[in-house]
């Protein structure tokens, strides 16, 4: 299934590995920070709702 990349196989594969690694890392970090802040905000809003009745 792997295409024949010839003498430039290392260059092509490393370009794909680095790029996809960076993109996946960015997506994961963005999702994690969003989830963390969503939970923190929900907690504070619930706490203030209880305090204010």
């Amino acid at each position: 299934m792997m295409p024949e990349l010839g003498k430039y196989a290392a260059e092509v594969i490393s370009a794909y590995a680095v790029s996809l690694g960076l993109l996946v890392g960015l997506v994961v970090l963005s999702l994690r920070r969003n989830a963390r802040l969503r939970d923190a905000l929900r907690q504070v809003e619930d706490r203030q709702r209880k305090t204010n009745g």
Binding site: Y16, S19, L37, V44
Partner: protein, 242 residues
């Protein structure tokens, strides 16, 4: 519906929560199809060999590195003129995405350049202006982190964005201004002679669509995060004052 409805954080959160799954799904579909098509099902170039497959990452990343900064420029101008917080937060949200695309363009360019030009790096006009653009992205992100007051940070980063736009535009047009550089002309052109060959063109277009949609999805997601962070900070301040 007016465009300015997006300036209301509550309205933005509602609209973006509906849009985000579609944009993210389409982006993933385009990236998977475009990259698999480009990597597995396109031939080698008669001069570049298999390194031609790097264009499916390099060209869309470079294109979006510049366009991300231009989107930040528009959002910064909206902040400066109309003082809509969502626009300043959208610019802040776009910066790490733009930086990632710039780094991908620089790294993939270097990996391609080594076998094709015989060097990882040259102080070529386009490469140099791209490196400066990456430094502007880093400075922009650092300034947001360094300034405590959100409005002051938005003002200062907006000015930085205006200055950095010169390099974003230079990055785009450097190959036209100076002919002595190593970097070749644009891969996509309306001129059939200059455009990449048809066999590479369609998968490249799909990859570009994937990168554009990925940028949009990440900016929507990260702007939602920034709106939440701002509200959290305001609520915690209110608690402290009470």
């Amino acid at each position: 519906m007016s465009f300015w409805e997006f300036a209301n954080p509550k309205r933005f959160m509602q609209l973006s929560s509906r849009l985000l799954p579609w944009v993210a799904g389409l982006s993933l579909a385009c990236l998977v199809v475009g990259l698999i098509w480009g990597f597995f099902f396109t031939p080698e170039d008669y001069r570049q060999g298999s390194t031609v497959k790097i264009i499916y990452l390099h060209v869309p990343a470079a294109l979006m590195a510049i366009n991300a900064w231009l989107m930040m420029l528009v959002a910064s101008l909206v902040w400066i003129i109309r003082r809509h917080h969502v626009s300043a937060l959208a610019a802040r949200a776009a910066a790490p995405v733009g930086l990632t695309f710039t780094v991908i363009a620089l790294i993939t360019g270097a990996i391609w350049g080594q076998p094709m030009w015989g060097t990882w790096w040259a102080w070529d006009p386009r490469l140099t202006s791209f490196l400066i653009l990456a430094l502007f992205y880093m400075g922009y992100i650092a300034m947001w982190e360094a300034v405590e007051n959100g409005d002051t940070a938005a003002d200062l980063t907006s000015v930085l964005c205006l200055v950095g736009s010169v390099f974003a535009i230079l990055s785009r047009y450097a190959v036209l201004f100076w002919n002595q550089g190593l970097h070749q002309g644009a891969s996509l052109s309306l001129d059939k002679e200059e455009n990449v060959a048809d066999v590479f063109y369609l998968p490249l277009l799909v990859c570009i669509a994937g990168f554009v949609l990925m940028f949009l999805a990440l900016v929507l997601l990260r702007t939602r995060t920034e709106i939440r962070a701002r509200r959290l900070k305001a609520l915690l301040n209110r608690e402290r004052m009470a």
